[in-house]
């Protein structure tokens, strides 16, 4: 019988990126290339720029994808930046992204990694 234990991670940041539908895939690929371990996508509806663009607003999809990426505080700048570039967030209406501090996180950590860190 092995006792179950939990590893709590600190120095964690959450990058949230809200973009138009179908844009998430390339952004996640960029985030992973920059070292992010994984991402979660939610579907959502958003509004704001679309209304203010008038007729041009048709090019902005109301359906959004919300990408959540958990990264370490050392990676955060690099991942943040490559997601920005991959998502072309400098285009009007393309989306918005932000970083929030995360107090702690826990997930599956392979035993070998755990042992190495402990040792």
């Amino acid at each position: 019988m092995s006792t179950r234990e939990m590893v709590v991670l600190t120095d964690v940041k959450l990058i949230t990126c809200i973009v138009q539908r179908d844009a998430a895939e390339t952004i996640i690929a960029a985030a992973r290339a920059a070292g992010a371990q994984g991402a979660t996508v939610n579907y959502a509806r958003g509004m704001g720029v679309r209304e203010r663009l008038g007729v041009l607003g048709f090019a902005v999809n109301v359906e959004k994808e919300v990408i959540n990426v958990v990264v370490s505080s050392e990676q955060v700048e690099r991942v943040f930046e490559s997601m920005y570039l991959a998502g072309n967030l400098d285009i009007p209406g393309a989306g918005i992204m932000y970083v929030t501090p995360v107090e702690k996180a826990a997930t599956f950590i392979p035993r070998s990694v755990r042992d190495k860190l402990a040792g």
Binding site: T10, E51, R52, L53, V55, F58, A59, R78, N88, K104
Partner: protein, 602 residues
């Protein structure tokens, strides 16, 4: 852990000060701006109330507009180009390499194809922005607010409206000009003088199908009995018409309409309405409820068109038609300005969309008393729809139809003498017919593989059958089916086989297979025929068939599309039976094995 807020704040301040680390991590030039500087500052009036903030309109400079629209437009353009260009290139290459004749009017055709791509792109976008909000709004609200009979009658009218709006229906109307009145008087009269009534009866068939499909949603009826009671009388009527001396020529037209009506307008609009109704009745859970309408829609109007043919036959005799036609061609010197090329397409495009929109708008305002949100974008979408339809119609006339007719007219040069091709026949009869068959098969196979709707269907099917029916298997089955169907259709024209000889055994076989298969596969198989015939394939194949028929001087060149509809049904049903049988065999094998080795096999 457990930092006090103060020390956390200090730490983050400390982090921000590590400028060297920051620079090493960052490649972009970052400029920090306080968000406070960008948000509006509300000012209180003298009583201390804050006024509501109204954001002004964003004005973009030209570069930003370009960056906003550039990727948006190019993505959609490429999507449509992918459906059109491979087919066009294939047709042109086949004509130049194997038939050794240059593509005539190549500039005009290229321009036409470009127009078709642009038109489709605009139309699809307009559909999404302009028409779909209506469909969704009505689908969600109508069943909640109105009694069932009103819902069903609106569904019926909508079925008629969407048929007129279907882009490929124009191809059918333009096909009428080629028919020789002396050889097929009733076909000529249906396509030339009764065109509107023809489309109307097709629409009525679609409407009725939508009504029954909706009822099927609500009651959870099986699709099988619907298929039996529709196909059997349709086949009976086909046999009756096939025996009739003058009427057998309209069989091809009647069956071909099926492929035309189930296009990019009908399917999503009718489906969104049906799904809305089912959801409102609380019965939208069945993942299969979306199927069936398309099938019924493509069967009912066959009945409708054939009945119309019978009606026409009972009112006028062939001699009267021929007399009036010769009189017409003698008295009418030239088409009026509104019947000539660019104007006709413009009027056609407007006539297709505007009544549908007016009807939807009336339902929304009068019956539902709802207001549309984002009006300017919806209006813009509708304008896109109309413009897209017009441009697509132009592309249809100058590009798709012309190219299809041309290659249809040139291919017979492989095995018989054709006036436009020197030294034809190019090959021996057997080899030539064989080449034409290969050509037809490849055309059908790849046109279907490229159809985006099939991809979507494949994914649905894979999820529905939890992986038993793979997406690839379905796509292969349908594409091979369409390839074989188009090949059979071409053979039908070459050897002048009456269409009934092919349709009656084909559909009888399909009925037997339907009886053997389970409900899910029946739904998938019968619907797969409808989705494969998109707005590009239909006009191209229709025009090809007509040109082909003209070149080998057949009476009519219809029938290819109907063969392309029945073959995938049979292909998918048999594949389904095979998949099912394999699954059964495996479970039987498993049950025979000792319990401990089961895990290893599974």
């Amino acid at each position: 852990m457990g930092d006090e807020p103060e020390s956390a704040a200090q730490r983050s301040r400390h982090e921000r000060l590590r400028y060297g680390d920051f620079i090493r991590e960052v490649n972009l030039h970052q400029q920090q701006v306080s968000y406070n500087q960008l948000t509006p500052h509300l000012e209180a009036d003298s009583e201390g109330h804050y006024k509501d903030y109204l954001p002004g309109k964003l004005i973009l400079d030209k570069a930003d507009v370009g960056r906003l629209l550039g990727p948006f437009v190019s993505m959609r353009f490429i999507e449509q180009a992918r459906a059109v260009l491979p087919l066009a290139i294939y047709l042109a290459l086949f004509q130049m390499v194997l038939l050794r004749s240059a593509v005539a009017d190549s500039w005009l055709i290229s321009f036409g194809l470009f127009a078709a791509i642009v038109g489709l792109m605009l139309f699809m976008e307009g559909l999404r922005l302009g028409l779909m909000p209506f469909g969704e709004n009505i689908g969600n609200n109508l069943p909640k607010k109105s009694p069932l009979w009103l819902v069903l009658s609106i569904v019926m009218l909508l079925g008629i409206g969407v048929t007129f709006a279907e882009p490929a229906i124009g191809a059918l109307q333009s096909a009428g000009a080629i028919v020789d009145v002396r050889k097929a008087p009733y076909l000529w009269v249906l396509l030339n003088q009764w065109t509107d009534i023809l489309v109307l009866s097709v629409g009525a068939g679609v409407g009725l199908a939508a009504v029954l499909g909706t009822l099927r949603f609500l009651q959870g009826w099986s699709l099988k009995p619907f298929i039996y009671i529709t196909v059997v009388p349709t086949l009976a009527l086909t046999v009756y018409l096939g025996l009739h001396a003058d009427l057998h020529v309209i069989i091809g037209l009647a069956w071909d309409c099926g492929a035309v009506t189930t296009g990019p307008v009908t399917v999503p609009l009718v489906l969104s309405l049906g799904i809305g109704i089912a959801a409102a009745a609380g019965k939208g859970n069945s993942s299969l409820s979306g199927f069936g309408i398309v099938t019924l829609a493509s069967l009912f109007h066959i009945l409708a068109v054939m009945s119309l043919g019978l009606y026409v036959a009972s009112t006028i005799t062939p001699h009267e038609i021929i007399a009036s036609a010769t009189q017409l061609s003698a008295t009418a010197p030239a088409a009026a300005w509104w019947q000539r090329s660019p104007v006709m397409e413009i009027l056609g495009g407007m006539r297709a969309i505007i009544p549908l929109v007016l009807f939807l708008f009336l339902v929304l305002r009068v019956v539902l008393n709802e207001v549309l949100r984002e009006k300017h974008i919806v209006i813009f979408g509708l304008v896109l729809c109309v413009v897209g339809m017009i441009v697509f119609n132009l592309g249809l006339t100058y590009g798709l139809a012309r190219l299809g007719a041309q290659s249809g007219g040139t291919i017979p040069a492989a095995f018989t003498a054709v006036s436009t091709v020197e030294s034809s026949p190019l090959y021996g009869f057997m080899l030539g017919v064989f080449l034409a068959m290969i050509f037809a098969w490849v055309l059908g196979f790849f046109a279907t593989m490229a159809e985006p709707a099939l991809n979507a269907l494949g994914m649905t099917v894979e999820t529905l059958t939890s992986g038993a029916f793979k997406k690839r298997t379905l796509m292969m089955a349908v594409s091979v089916g369409v390839g074989v169907g188009i090949t059979l259709g071409v053979l039908k024209i070459i050897f002048a086989v009456p269409l009934a000889y092919l349709l009656v055994p084909g559909y009888s076989l399909a009925l037997v297979l339907t009886w053997l298969s389970n409900e899910e596969f029946v739904n998938i198989a019968w619907d797969s025929a409808g989705v494969t015939t998109g707005p590009v394939t239909v006009p191209l194949v229709l025009a090809m068939g007509l040109g082909f028929g003209q070149a080998v001087s057949a009476v009519e060149g219809f029938g290819i599309l109907s063969m392309a509809s029945i073959s995938p049904i049979i292909a998918v049903l048999s594949t389904g039976l095979w998949v099912q049988r394999r699954a059964q065999l495996r479970t039987r094998l498993l049950s025979q094995m000792p319990a401990d080795s089961k895990g290893a096999v599974a």
